[in-house]
């Protein structure tokens, strides 16, 4: 005991001065101000969100699911487009963490009177919004908002471009069933060209090392996909227009919502043909790896892109997706609150 108390001058004990620094107590640190897309997320950042999500699921599992991390924070959800689960889960996520949440939709707000996006965003900032959760039918609208205000902006879906929180919750849900995604064959089926969910899923999945296969009628696949070259900015995906081939050996299948208005645009001959060729059903899932889950971002057209039996069967993780959506959004709100 006595010897340990001996005070030595720094010079005589060099071994003690050149100590290995302590592992920082903070662990990994979040430095992102806005969440606009997953295209610039590193694998490390995604891991941090997914780990934080697990901690949030614990809060949600409590008898009284409340924690005070965001007390005093004002969150505004600004939705220029319809939404059920995204808006409700953001609102709940904020409330579970003690934030005040204000919900605005374009109908019933000054947007109806012709207020511009920038003016609306600045007004919300002026009343004290610190986090702005935004959905807009125009791709890139959240970027414009982020440029013109000091609030942190979360993209809750913009046009065909990105839906990063859906991408993250899909990754979390997949991982909970499939485990490590490296080298796993994940098939994304449907209207990829018009799907912001698909784009965010593709970025996230390829960042975590999954082998992404995109499947759909050629008219509904974006032309740029599958042309990734060495050093190109596009993620590496395989394109397969035959669903029966695509699902062979799949570790998971992610179905997309078929937007009925695509029919009017002449991109599809008929719903019946689409569902015959591209419906994810139990017969097709039999070709996938045993236990492979099926995901759908909702809202579903049962009997079109997914069969009712599959959507409500054991392989379906659609309900888990909705539940995980709250936890993922809590994780992001928590991480962003602290970032300067």
């Amino acid at each position: 005991m006595a010897s340990s108390r001996t005070s030595e001058p720094a010079g005589t004990a060099p071994r003690q001065v050149t100590e290995v620094p302590l592992t920082p107590d903070e662990g990994r640190v979040w430095r992102r101000r806005h969440v606009l897309d997953l295209d610039d997320f590193s694998a490390d950042e995604i891991e941090l969100v997914l780990e934080t999500t697990t901690a949030m699921k614990e809060v949600l599992a409590r008898d009284v699911p409340r924690a005070p991390a965001l007390r005093g924070t004002t969150i505004v959800t600004l939705f220029y487009e319809a939404s059920t689960r995204t808006r409700a889960s953001f609102e709940l996520a904020g409330k579970v963490l003690g934030a005040d949440v204000i919900n605005l939709t374009s109908s019933g707000s000054s947007v109806e009177k012709g207020e511009s996006l920038i003016d609306t965003v600045r007004t919300l900032q002026a009343i004290g919004a610190q986090v702005l959760v935004m959905r807009h039918s125009m791709s890139g609208a959240p970027y414009l908002a982020a440029e013109h205000c000091d609030a942190r902006v979360i993209n809750a879906g913009d046009g065909w471009h990105a839906h990063p929180t859906q991408g993250l919750l899909d990754l979390y849900t997949l991982r909970s069933r499939v485990g490590d995604l490296r080298g796993r064959r994940i098939v994304i089926v449907g209207d990829v060209a018009h799907s912001r969910v698909a784009r965010s899923d593709i970025w996230g999945l390829s960042r975590l090392g999954a082998e992404v296969v995109v499947c759909g009628p050629p008219t509904l696949l974006p032309a740029e996909l599958g042309k990734s070259q060495e050093g190109s900015a596009l993620p590496n995906v395989t394109v397969e227009t035959d669903l029966d081939k695509a699902v062979c050996g799949a570790d998971a299948v992610m179905t997309l919502r078929l937007q009925q208005e695509r029919m009017a645009g002449g991109l599809l001959p008929s719903l019946r043909e689409y569902s015959r060729l591209y419906q994810v059903n139990e017969a097709r899932m039999a070709k996938a790896n045993p236990g492979a889950p099926v995901l759908h971002p909702g809202p579903m057209n049962e009997g079109v892109e997914i069969s009712a039996a599959l959507a409500h069967g054991a392989a379906s993780m659609i309900e888990e997706q909705v539940q995980n959506g709250v936890a993922v959004r809590m994780a992001l709100l928590y991480l962003m609150r602290g970032s300067k």
Partner: protein
């Protein structure tokens, strides 16, 4: 800057065994006891205490881990969010006698946050606090029930607890800024 050794690995082992005895004596055995380590270094310390208690009493004591990230009162001033580690509770803590374990007790604010976190999780019959080092300078009315070593420090000092599990070796040292 100079780093001075406060406890060697042997000193730490003895302190842990002594605290284990003290806890068992105060609670007349290990019935209904739960050790709850605070992230990061409180968790391996809690496991060490549990191992020592099992050696003494022959009965395993459940150990949990607690992350207070959601309960910190400095979230808005820290600049960065603290990484959350999913907590692990061995069981429902309601009605249990809970001993919170941490490496260094300083301002007491972490313990205050931990108390909030515990009360949100359940309603233990009793909560006590065990720390390896009490370095003083409390900012809230909190005191430890079991202490490995009391160390008088200056506010600017840095007390470094190293554990084999997290830092590759055991030892407690103090770093004093040169005047």
């Amino acid at each position: 800057m100079s780093e001075r050794v406060l406890m060697t690995s042997e000193d730490m082992r003895r302190a842990v065994v002594r605290i284990a005895h003290e806890i068992l004596e105060a609670h007349k055995g290990s019935k209904d006891l739960v050790l709850l380590g605070m992230h990061t270094r409180g968790v391996p310390l809690a496991h060490r205490l549990a191992d020592a208690m099992e050696q003494i009493e022959g009965e395993a004591v459940p150990v949990g881990a607690l992350d207070i990230g959601l309960y910190r009162d400095d979230l808005s001033t820290r600049g960065t969010s603290v990484q959350l580690t999913p907590g692990e509770l061995p069981q429902d803590v309601s009605g249990k006698r809970l001993v919170l374990v941490d490496d260094v007790l300083f301002t007491g604010r972490s313990v205050r946050a931990a108390l909030d976190a515990i009360i949100d999780i359940g309603r233990p019959q009793r909560i006590q606090l065990a720390v390896l080092i009490d370095r003083g300078h409390r900012e809230v009315p909190i005191r430890p029930d079991y202490v490995g070593k009391n160390v008088p420090t200056a506010r600017g000092d840095d007390v470094r607890v190293r554990l084999d599990e997290t830092d590759g070796r055991d030892g407690v040292a103090i770093v004093r800024q040169e005047e």
